[in-house]
């Protein structure tokens, strides 16, 4: 039965010549208590075979809602209110669930953000893959197994036959996402929907998955709908892109055109929010878009972007613009698209821009030497419990040596699990260190916080990653910012309120925020309060643990500006952790690159991002998605996954994955046996590698531009 259906649909697939998916003036609404909310309005686009169409925009702009509408996944209270969704020429709206299932058959596949949730943890991967074929197509087991292995090989899964026998937790995150993609492709779908498929992955893994998607687009004749918030990812995998804002498509066209000459003010604003890889705070500036995305129930009558637009005029407030096709074929939803010249753009006076202060090299404030942090692992065998076996340790930080000078920022980059977070937890005293020396303002800080003087604690504060858990939901903004002042007695009790309001104003929040509870704030506002709390006791050193990675790009730009401003006003020293290399480059004066608990390269930011590179840094840089389709990047991909910190590789920790190992003495044999030397170039730039500096210097820069603009 199932076989005949799929035969039917496939014959229709091949008979159909128009676009695979065509949306016309689609509006999607959710019924809520006391009315309904139109989450998406007037969205029209089509995707042809072999085309990869990106949808970008900030969170809450309706990207995922569009995808869910296509697969009828809107939930009990959501429905397509107007417009038509045609898949292979057939209307999908207004049909019952069973009808839809039959129409779509196995022709639409979807890949989600988190691969671990798409795979059943208690079934072998092979069984899950085969099931797609045996259930949908009624294929015999052996045939299904053969096809599954073939497909795994096509997604470049090493050792495919073996992977079939494994469980999801036995392979890495990037490999899991490959399996999910393989599963989606098994039925040779006409449309593949990808909803942020690489957002949860590390940059090197992301690069490999993006390569795979780009290859698949060429090989398979599949239409791909690619949803992401990352402009760089779009530039790498998509041919066309639609920019969504507040439930509307505001600009749509070929990727090259949109990136080269964005015509909608929102698209232009987005581009100005993202730091370019290689840009720093001295030479460039980030311009956040003022205001915030309006919630669906209070969108303006006129242009949805009007209240935040620098070019808004009377007509924009009164009349909602239509999506118009411009002479170069790009569709733009703006009344004045022809008149806007982005090169003449000046930031609006409401936009907060930091004033920078030249930082001169001065005395070191934080000195760390050979710092180690090991975690003891308790085994579960009887021998372990009785203590008969030697104890094993996770070597989270191995030999960290660096200094931070007063008023400067040290950026720390590396993939997840490389020990960045452990390093700053050890510095701030949430963990005590296992070995080594660490001095802050001349005081020893190797012990944990209980062993430190309160004056020392006051000078070391931290900004956290997750805006939703950085504030205690039970206390008001004012109470939480005031607490450090009360605790450290930096301000007399009676003046705490005034002082808090001063800080709130410095964070551009204003007095009205004093009595608000965290649930009344947006993510960016919460993060501002988190920063205000960290700065409230006027610390000398602030540790920032990915403070912007959970935020939308326009908010991210505002928060980075705020941190820069606070730093230059207060002269605060910072250690800044992030996985986004462009952000770290932009924000930091010095950068340390970590791999498996070991600092691989350290030095001034501009030196790290140009040759000579450590091979690992080179690989990281070539993996970063760049929001510029004209930029050419060296293609270096790391094999395999990060080894376990429980039993790290001998010699150089990176030797198992190093793509340049053959340049090292003895053809790379030393890398496995000997710990590499620290090779110093000029101005404090140090590389932890066996490859001679002269060889490293000959490497080409990772990024080059095909055409200069």
């Amino acid at each position: 039965m199932a076989t005949t259906t799929s035969l039917d649909t496939s014959s229709i697939t091949y008979g159909h010549t128009g676009p695979v998916l065509k949306l016309e003036n689609v509006a999607i609404a959710y019924k809520v208590r006391g009315g309904e909310i139109e989450a998406v309005q007037n969205v029209s686009f089509e995707i042809n075979r072999g085309e990869s169409h990106g949808l970008v925009g900030e969170s809450g702009c309706g990207k995922s809602t569009v995808a869910w509408a296509v697969v009828n996944f809107l939930g009990a209270n959501g429905y397509v209110k107007r417009g038509s969704i045609r898949f292979l020429g057939r209307e999908l709206t207004g049909r019952s669930g069973e009808d839809l299932r039959r129409l779509r058959g196995d022709q639409i596949a979807m890949v989600y953000q988190d691969p671990m949730q798409a795979l059943n943890p208690s079934l072998r991967l092979g069984d899950q893959l085969k099931e797609v074929l045996t259930v949908h197509r009624g294929m015999a087991d052996a045939e299904a197994a053969r096809r599954s292995i073939e497909m795994l090989e096509r997604v470049y899964m090493p050792d495919a036959a073996d992977v079939m026998r494994r469980f999801p937790h036995q392979i890495s995150g990037g490999q899991q996402q490959r399996v999910v993609i393989a599963m989606a492709l098994l039925n040779n779908p006409a449309l593949l929907i990808m909803d942020e498929p690489t957002t949860a992955l590390d940059v090197t893994v992301e690069a490999a998955v993006l390569d795979l998607i780009a290859d698949l687009r060429r090989e398979f004749d599949t239409a791909i709908m690619y949803i992401t918030h990352n402009l760089g990812v779009v530039a790498r995998v998509c041919s066309k892109v639609g920019v969504m804002y507040a439930g509307e498509m505001v600009e749509r066209g070929l990727v090259e055109q949109i990136f080269k000459r964005p015509q909608h003010p929102y698209t232009q604003g987005l581009m100005r929010c993202v730091p370019k890889l290689g840009a720093d705070k001295a030479s460039s500036m980030l311009y956040p878009i003022r205001g915030r995305v309006p919630p669906p129930h209070s969108r303006p009558i006129g242009c949805v972007f009007g209240p935040r637009c620098d070019y808004a005029q009377e007509r924009c407030r009164m009349e909602r613009p239509a999506l118009r096709t411009m002479p170069n074929g790009v569709q733009v939803r703006c009344h004045f698209a022809e008149d806007i010249d982005p090169s003449q753009w000046q930031p609006h006076e409401d936009v907060e821009l930091p004033t920078l202060r030249e930082v001169v090299a001065s005395e070191p404030i934080l000195e760390v030497q050979h710092l180690k942090k090991y975690y003891e692992v308790s085994g579960s065998t009887i021998k372990d419990i009785l203590g008969l076996r030697p104890k094993s340790y996770v070597k989270a930080v191995e030999d960290a040596t660096f200094t931070v000078q007063k008023g400067r920022t040290l950026g720390v980059v590396g993939e997840s699990g490389c020990g960045k977070s452990t390093l700053i937890k050890t510095i701030i005293g949430l963990e005590d260190s296992t070995d080594g020396k660490a001095e802050f303002m001349g005081f020893d800080i190797t012990g944990n916080i209980a062993s430190r003087d309160i004056k020392l604690i006051q000078e070391l504060q931290m900004v956290f990653q997750n805006p939703d858990s950085t504030m205690n939901p039970s206390y008001t903004v004012g109470q939480q910012i005031g607490r450090p002042m009360v605790r450290f007695k930096t301000v007399p009790k009676k003046q705490v309120r005034d002082e808090v309001i001063k800080i709130l104003q410095a964070m551009r929040l204003g007095e009205t925020y004093y009595d608000r509870l965290p649930r009344q704030l947006s993510g960016g506002e919460k993060q501002r309060v988190g920063i205000a709390r960290a700065l409230a006791s006027h610390p000398n050193l602030v540790l920032c643990d990915e403070p912007v990675s959970a935020l939308d790009v326009s908010v991210q730009a505002a928060i980075l500006n705020l941190l820069l401003d606070a730093q230059s006003k207060l002269g605060t020293t910072m250690v800044f952790i992030a996985h986004d290399l462009s952000v770290v480059r932009f924000f930091s004066d010095d950068v340390a690159v970590m791999y498996l608990g070991q600092i691989m390269e350290i030095g001034p930011a501009e030196a790290i991002y140009a040759p000579p590179y450590h091979p690992y840094t080179e690989a990281l840089l070539s993996a970063v998605p760049i929001p510029d389709p004209t930029a050419a990047q060296k293609h270096i991909r790391l094999e395999g996954s990060v080894p376990s910190a429980l039993n790290p590789p001998s010699g150089c920790r990176f030797h198992t994955r190093c793509p340049q190992r053959h340049f090292a003495p003895e053809g790379g044999a030393v890398c496995a046996t000997q710990i590499p030397p620290w090779q110093e170039t000029d101005n404090g730039h140090k590389i932890f590698c066996h490859i001679p500096l002269e060889t490293l210097r000959t490497f080409d820069p990772v990024i080059s531009h095909k055409e200069k603009d």
Binding site: I428, I449, Q461, M462, F464, S474, Y475, R508, T512, D515
Partner: protein, 308 residues
Amino acid sequence: MTVAQPALGASKRPSRLRKLWDTLSVVLNSRIGTVGLAIVVFWVVIALLSLFWTPYPPNSSLFVQNLPPNLTNVLGTDHLGRDLASRLMQGTQVILLKTRLPGDTHVAIPGGVALWGVFGSLFLGAILGLNAGYRGGWWDQVIMQVLDALIAFPVIVLYLVIIAALGQGDLVVIFAITITGAPGVARLVRSLALDIKTRDYIRAAETRGESLAYIMYREILPNARGPLLVDAMLRVGYAIFAIGTLGFLGLGLPPPDPDWGNMVNEARRNIFLNQWAVIFPSLAIASLVVGLNLFADGLREEITRYQK
């Protein structure tokens, strides 16, 4: 960012009572919660009324014994000819409104035995649970093993042991309810603390070098109040039930105030003569317990709905 800010929650610091009402009023959105609230409010009103007025003095034998409900005695009379309605009304006081101190002083403190008992178990349970959950390690092991051992005893045995050791009295009953209720509260608070202590705001407090007590009672405990409030409502129901059981066994709240459980016990001997004297006190216990349970259910439903 400050542009286009709607004047949300115009600044006036909300009072504590106001906050409590904000939490409790969500229960009106739930039908069963509203029914529960109505039943509970009914009994609270009865209790308040009984402070000033009952149809007849509850402890004087003014009527014929074992009367069924009639126009003079709305709910009938008991085996000593006392008015059942008046005794039921008076019986709410010891549960909900007053706790008599020992001795013949006739001094009472506000708050009934059931409420103080639940407050006691919340207080003790929260301290134990926070220490076990936040400190972890040996603290956790020792506290939870002892509490688990306590849970292993049948509750009624614990009651009997405590009352046998300390004698009858309101305070002893409160103590018994506290001891039997604390392990359950401690487990709940421990599980909440284990979750809450992973949040970044606890890290922030630690990096400020806050004391253990501050982190446990000021940072963690306030965020556990929703589930604790629901649990407390359920526990008041259990406590009333426990008081009824003790009264029935003759070990409950001492005279002169009528005790619902004791009323059932005494009327039981004449059950073939007069069923009403058993039915009405039993109904009173059941309705108050069911009311509190419904209220707690509604509260839980509504609180978890807005948690996201």
